[in-house]
Symmetry: C2
Subunit: 471 residues, 2 copies
């Protein structure tokens, strides 16, 4: 008896019902991406190791899945050893030992692996833009929906393989892109029937706060600490700043940040005054003005200024976004994004400003499931099952089946002549809406009995009425 098969920890199979739900999310987002002029891109799962290393910090580097070079590299080492010393006894001098140790252990990393699985879609996107810069029509609006892999410790809601779903426009500094992305968020969540808050801030405002604190050189520590406000509260944020060498005076100067409340219009004058001496903050405020003024009437999204929104460190330099669901119990954000001034610099192409957003498909899935927002009838489900009463009836059904399918309705014929109970169970398990019963009697009379699996109602129709009934 073979062992019961399993999959690597942190990875998932997606069953048909999960897939139909996932497709509903991805298709909805993709349709909106396309409506906004973003075009699809795909990059290979494997990138050269050098493309990825050094881009995600020390911790990130450790989480990159490396792919073994083909060939048995340990065999190579064994061969080298045997070539030098043979497999027989050798005189064991200290030199020989040192040499053998070196030969055996200093397997160069590049002999073992030179490819790795992508860790996100952003670095491959930057690599693509630089590599294909002469073929691309800038500003380049692309979306990308592909899995990424991280050797993270698996835990609830954290997987080693998961899809990212990104849209970026690169090669333009225009704030119209920020406005567009706010509207895009609104369009997606309106289509998904979910109320959300789109939180916005600007890194220039945060830089300005560091500036007026008197310790602008501590901007990274200040932003990193503020970023945790949601999770740890003001007191702990100030503690962390203090630990990082931010002075008490600076912390006092930063404190007004935590007292800010209300709408953009309400906070705007206070910010104007508080950050009056910082030119960069003033620019950030003006940029935010533009987005608030031009986003227009939104449907399911509520655009909110959040001065404590920081979104890690990353590469953001301008606007930053975060989306939170206003329904369901999920605390964490379901989308993020922001503007960066130099994404492609790491690959030698300077001055490419861009702005991008990312949808967290797994989290959106959880929220929609919890709030019952998935449509009752998901695209792709089978609508009609012809029950199988024997070869004569089945072959007759086969002809009707063809007509039903040609009219665009997803349908099938149960392939085997088995008990009705089993066939109905199949329809039930698969969520099929209708079962067509066409036994000897029906065949004689030229009718079909159609059972609505939800209501249990049965109805006899003429064969040529079947499609109308289902449409």
């Amino acid at each position: 008896m073979a062992q019961k098969p399993s999959i690597p920890k942190g990875t998932r199979d997606f069953s048909p019902v999960e897939m139909l739900r996932r497709k509903y999310i991805f298709n909805t987002i993709e349709r909106v991406f396309q409506k906004y002029g973003y075009l699809p891109l795909e990059t290979p799962a494997m990138e050269n190791l050098e493309t990825l290393t050094g881009k995600y910090g020390e911790e990130g580097d450790r989480l990159i899945f490396k792919v073994l070079n083909s060939g048995d590299f340990m065999q190579e080492v064994r061969d080298k050893w045997d070539a030098k010393y043979g497999s027989g006894p050798v005189e064991a001098t200290a030199d020989v030992i040192r040499d053998m140790r070196a030969l055996a252990l200093d397997v160069k990393a590049s002999q073992v692996t030179e490819k790795a699985l992508r860790y996100d879609l952003t670095v491959p996107f930057a690599r693509y833009v630089v590599q294909h810069q002469n073929e691309i029509a800038f500003p380049f609006k692309r979306y990308q929906i592909q899995p990424v892999w991280r050797a993270d410790r698996p835990q609830k809601g954290r997987y080693r393989e998961f899809y990212q779903c990104d849209a970026d426009v690169i090669g333009s500094k225009s704030l119209l892109s920020e406005v567009e992305l706010v509207q895009l968020f609104d369009d997606v969540f309106t289509a998904l029937d979910l109320q959300v808050a789109v939180k916005i801030n600007d890194r220039k405002v945060l830089a300005g706060i560091a500036e007026i604190s008197g310790q602008p050189e501590k901007v990274v520590d200040i932003v990193t600490a503020i970023d945790k406000l949601d999770k740890i509260g003001q007191e702990k944020v100030e503690e962390e700043m203090r630990a990082k060498g931010v002075s008490n005076e600076a912390i006092t100067r930063i404190a007004p940040l935590f007292a800010l409340r209300g709408t953009w219009a309400e906070q705007r004058p206070q910010l104007e005054q508080w950050l009056a001496s910082s030119a960069i903050a003033q620019q950030g405020l003006k940029d935010l003005d533009f987005t608030f003024a031009n986003a227009g009437t939104l449907h399911n999204a509520r655009l909110e200024f959040d001065p404590t929104l920081a979104r890690g460190l990353d590469y953001y330099t301008g606007a930053i976004f975060e989306v939170k669901a206003l329904e369901g119990s999920l605390g964490s954000s379901i989308c993020g994004g922001g503007r960066y001034d130099d994404l492609t610099g790491i690959f030698g192409l300077k001055n490419m400003s861009g702005v991008g957003i990312s949808f967290g498909a797994d989290r959106i899935y959880d929220v929609l499931l919890e709030t019952g927002k998935f449509p009752a009838e998901l695209g792709g489900s089978t609508k009609l099952l012809f029950a199988n009463f024997g070869e004569t009836e089945a072959l007759h059904c086969l002809k009707l089946l063809r007509q039903v399918r040609e009219s665009g309705i997803a349908a099938e014929l149960y392939p085997d002549t088995v008990k009705m109970a089993k066939q109905f169970k199949y329809a039930d398990d698969k969520g099929i809406a209708f079962v067509a019963i066409l036994g000897e009697n029906e065949l004689k009379q030229g009718i079909i009995t159609v059972k609505d699996m939800k209501s249990g109602e049965q109805r006899a129709v003429k064969e040529d009425e079947l499609i109308t009934l289902l449409s």
Copy 2:
């Protein structure tokens, strides 16, 4: 200056225009899969190494991409070494040397890697079925469209990462599935506007031929040789059989195979007579009768019996399929498939008969490109670009843009105020159909000048006529 970035050999980036074409193919196939009651499944890119090894033959095993365990396993070896002997000098006895060599070199494969990238979709599917057998409603009809990875030597048309596109029904022996799959092929290629030959044979007929040859034990060698007929011709096929120990007498008995010509109806009586003494061949012929009798009128597909079709060895036991394009210059097949009696046996679940097909997306892509069969307007392309004449005009366009998008039309506003030539080039490069020109004059008059990028024609319309013009 950073190095120009690149991707691993044998892998590909798919640009937006390539992606839109690929999506057209995948979406077409997927729509038909769903119409036939097949539901989507996805399995993780990484499988446990033991799930994959031993399933693809010795050569296949070598081509599996293995993923390195996280952590520096060589460091572990170094640590063990140092723990035992320290890093200082040791007395170099032969024992010590032997021990050190073992410690250093016998890195167990499982320490290095225990996960691998999937090599095809069939083995993960079998693994899924066995693992989830208690949750699945059998017969299980699933489709799966995901990339697979093979460490093959890259060459023209052969990649190290490529998509497979499979549909299988497992858990039924009914020949209705074979009929359905022929109709499914026809539906897909009718939708893709491509004329194809769907070639069919049955492994039972081939087994019968081996039987009547007098050397039934040579069935594998006989089938393997016959499979090459297309490429090497009858003489070489017979030579190969001879080399494998098939007797001249047996080869003479097999020879009528190569003389068979004509339609199923024409060949059927000859086969009946020639294979009269083989019960298994007779069963194969009866099964083929069923498929030919019930496939119905096909549109773009021509169903052809091909007695020399063998499709490698694999796991096929009944019907085998192959699809070839009747247009374009591609010689090789663009789809394949067949019935298997024991796909899940490798994972301990016996008696699961099924039948499946696979679409070769890369080859279908090449044929459609060569024959000009891709639609002029691919779904997902942007239809309208609003040119940008400055902030006032742009902000006005932003409002119109929103209306256009809300009507479902993909549109965008050029984000920067740059020369018209550059904006038109952008529209051209991106294949955008229309450019909306709304400068100072148009703004005053409440009109828009719309340029058809294909014909070059310009037309002034009122703002509220814009959507009608584009629909």
